[in-house]
Symmetry: D2
Subunit: 360 residues, 4 copies
């Protein structure tokens, strides 16, 4: 029997990406949908279709909602019936997440793509394949809060791509400092970004993004201590910009290492990274956590974001950095709405199921 | 009487930008045009119009060639008649420039936007308003080579924007190191960049660009020594990418200073910079070499590249850098085909005329 | 003394385009600004700047609001003080226009870019230079409604470009039927169009647009009768799509004429059209209502939208149509936010002043 | 044993799309590659990789060449060894096709995506599922020319999408006339279209395209006569433009029918069309030749081009046309490099194999 999941935020972009990632899923079954009060009581089909114009709001490009999903009733997220639900995907805006997630987590494991609880000491902030050992915080969280369920969070999509590559380097060479400039895809901004702002343009500022990258990266790379994560004490400078690219974040990363390493050392570290995790063969897992390019024209977001289902991080142009100590630099492309959001959440849930964190 | 100029490369993008910048010019008059053998003997109108389809190849968007320019005959660049010509604008590809520029410079002052002679010890590599004192090399050059004319070069367009801002900081605070990631406009690549490569995409590599930025910046910021420039010995790390923006290079710059400076110190340095030059009121000069934005959403290439005729460098998001020593970081937008190419060449020529370098 | 105008909708795109068009205007002076209640009481600078982030919302690209405009107080549009105001520019959304415009027009001439009153029998729907004789409706309107002022409206921006060209043909050749497919710029949709929808895409539907084009074109081309316009009874089929172009509507038009005409006849009709109006030399007037291209690669929105200040309609590819009777077809580019909106409104106001419709 | 095919033009875009479509193909095996003399003698990997920079020219986005393809030697197209080859895919430019295709067809069946022989009376111009009965010309062709093989051609990609929909209507309602305006994707122009021309722009002219659409559509819709096709005598007016879309042609079609039909009649005709063909289940076949949308915001090229592997034609906004007799209009999206080129060629080859046209 499949694991029964509820998707909260089903009428929004993040929720629909979770739904698309759950389509024909071998172990999960979408048993409930929830959204804001406005949609409650309607079928999912009705909730996303304008009755006058017939225009349908389905945002997961390249897929269509399955008929059985279209027929499901949408519940009010505040009153979601959790009976029979084994797992909640909470894919909602920050404010809603702050209110809703503890309501669910009191009873049921909750995987969240939202910001509010990421930096709580007893809440794991996890990238599948990277710092799954941080899930040990779940026991502390349940004990401390008296919950039967828990909250497990995924990081900011920009932090995700970079953290995967840094984690591949940290154990071998140590990391002293990191500088990153990002050129982020539009889908990370959802539907709030007007076309007028970004077509044939670069926007030099993404509110709060640089701080998120700095703070979350240190926690992701941190080491599990007594009921909390000891953050990795690295200096980190981020400049986050928006480019006219539909999806895929491109990041120019320079790393100052504690030990010298040649580009070939770095390539080896990237290529050998994460095999223990990918060998599990979880349904949404990439075959390689990191894909290395030697063609200097790669990675490119349009060509590389969808490789391995959007779940691998593509890295190229690995070369020495002339300024940082033991400096190395490279560019990466990460799919912000696949590994960096909805599908990453599904992969985390797959691991939670594999590792026995669901159902009891 | 106006100064008579020849424009070599008149059928190409760079040459046409020079021509557009010379339209209705108060002191220069286009007296001759030259291009490759293929166009020689035709009127300029015929040289840029396909006879079968009527399609015209004029690349300086937002302008049209003046009727008197359309009527001019195009000469073969290799045999350009220099009689009566006071100044040559050489706006051709590298290989052609290597061959042609010495031919012209033997007789006539030659302003070049091309690469081959930029790093020659006796050739000035100049940004108007930034390092005009380097023009003193001209005497050395004429003496050493026995030329009546000379070559004066403009830098790579990507180096230009950054060097302007660095030069505003260097005398006050000293510069230890620089890191830059660029998101460059399409027009920098001319017509060789296929649409298929860049639409809805980022290209992570621009051949030779990072080296040019590193090498040329050190020369531009260098100090005039005995018949040569003593380059400024800074460490410099550049990552150059191409974005789907028609024109305007966006650059994310981090600078390690020798002395600490607050963002307000930096803003003051930028705002006070270059007034001695802009006060000359040369026809193509901006009113400010640097324009500072406090709105964090600026500068943007589409909104800011054309400010002050594309001749000012727009800077914003000035804030501390967390990694570099006395680190400061900012983003800038520079117009690669205005200040960074054709119109910059015209401004340099205006200064050469002003300072008495033309006509003997 | 200048004519004192109020701009209603000053915090929105359309209003800011009017403001930009009034910058340094020789005969109009912006004496009052109005917007929704939310902005009332603030200076214009404060009304358009987010106090926390410093982000400023000024949408008229390529310009900045003048200091004296930034200092003006913003009034509540519902309670706009009309004392001393000679003319109101109403540049607001449909619903607001429906309520506000009669309030202003009771006292003061009101030029509107909005939809609600365009098709009222006694309200002129006018393109400057095209059907100014329709302004004779103003007397009927004042009489019938007992107003001291009046409402004069501008058409939908898509109808504008096509109607200009049709009106150049109608008197000479007669028009039987028209088919048009448009590829419209993003700015026509304001800030409501998400980047996610249009980047690297075509949207096949613009709600209500095709009907507007059909209905309004017939009225614009109509003949002034007794207190109303007798619409031109032409069959008209429109397909309106949105393309990833910042500004400028491209329209592929096929016209069935009543009399046969060669492409050269059509070119002559276009080139000779509107000279009586353009000879008035009104401040915002183009030098030519229609600009004809013989290069088959033109017009293009990016290259041609800004020609003559965005106020000319650029036409090219004039050739026979194989299907319609006496068919002729061509493409045109019209600047939707210049001639098609704010600047067209200013040009209309200039004509109203010239023709004695203002001040009594 | 698989059918052995040669791909000529393997270093170009069209050829690589054929190669990508043949990847892991159940019945075809790539046994030989050919290209121009310049590449001859190299491995395919070497032929597409710049030795200095490591840049690889593989243009079929979303795929990578298989290792066994990379290892194949590239032959000179003029001397391609046809021994053991059952079928040639000729995916080369017009001029090369004119010379090469008869050389191959003398011995081996040749499927061509190029223009030169499409309009020859004895050469079938075929869209799979639409006019396969035209393949009967092959016997006439072989007989008349004394060839053991033959040439079968695919139409221009713009004609393809429209012809599929017209053929669904013609038998039921008859077609009197057709008007079409296209907004074509960049990939149709290959790598020759400079980014500078099309970014944030519309290009109003595609040389020769409108004539191709007009001529080829009449042949595709024609009826098989005595050793030749009797073209369908319809009036057809086409305007072909280029939009800034990577792939997918959007076409706004108006059809004058011989018998009246309601939108629902048209929808039924589209939905019921081609099932005999799709039921064959050929490896590259779509499940539906035509996909009908009722959401007026569809089809969109970015969302719909890849549906059913790029092999279905997506149609929407079916509604009456106000001008044409018994007029009906709709928009369609067709994938120009899938059904409209390489993958369409593979599908045609699959049918040729199925119908016994290969191997004797």
């Amino acid at each position: 029997m499949k694991i029964k999941v509820a998707v909260v935020g089903a009428t929004g972009i993040a929720g629909q990406q979770v739904l698309a990632s759950l389509d024909n899923h071998p172990t999960f079954e979408v048993a409930a949908l929830a959204a804001s009060e406005r949609s409650a009581g309607k079928s999912f089909a009705d909730a996303i279709t304008d009755p006058d114009s017939g225009i349908r709001r389905w945002y997961a490009a390249g897929s269509n909602p399955a008929p059985e999903i279209l027929a499901l009733p949408v519940q009010d997220a505040k009153g979601l019936d959790l009976r029979g639900i084994d797992l909640v995907f909470a894919a909602v805006e920050s404010e809603a997440a702050r209110e809703l997630e503890p309501i669910y987590a009191r009873h049921v494991p909750t995987v969240s793509t939202a910001r509010p609880y990421r930096m709580e000491p007893d809440v794991p902030l996890v990238i599948p394949g990277v710092n799954l050992e941080h899930l040990a915080l779940i026991n502390e969280q349940k004990r401390r809060r008296g919950w039967r369920g828990f909250i497990a969070t995924l990081p900011n999509c920009t932090a995700t791509g970079m953290a995967i590559t840094l984690k591949a380097l940290e154990p071998r060479f140590g990391i002293d400092c990191v500088m990153v400039t990002t050129m982020q895809g539009i889908s990370g901004a959802g539907r709030d970004l007007p076309a007028l702002d970004i077509v044939e343009n670069i926007i030099p500022y993404i509110p709060r993004e640089e701080e998120r990258v700095q703070i979350e990266t240190r926690k992701i790379l941190g080491h599990l201590g007594e009921g909390a994560i000891a953050e990795l004490p690295i200096r980190l400078s981020a400049t986050c910009t928006r480019a006219g690219v539909i999806a895929g974040h491109t990041e120019a990363v320079s790393v100052g290492l504690k030990k010298p390493a040649s580009p070939e050392d770095i390539i080896a570290a990237f290529q050998e990274y994460g095999t223990e995790f990918t060998r599990l063969g979880l349904p949404s897992s990439p075959r390689h956590l990191i894909t290395v390019h030697r063609d200097p024209m790669r990675p490119q977001p349009r060509l590389d974001r969808d490789v391995e289902g959007g779940m691998t991080t593509s890295v190229g142009r690995i070369r020495p950095d002339e300024v940082l100590p033991n400096g190395i630099k490279y560019l990466l492309v990460t799919h912000n709405t696949a590994m960096g959001a909805g599908k990453g959440a599904v992969l985390l849930a797959e691991y939670l199921a594999h590792a026995g964190y669901l159902r009891g």
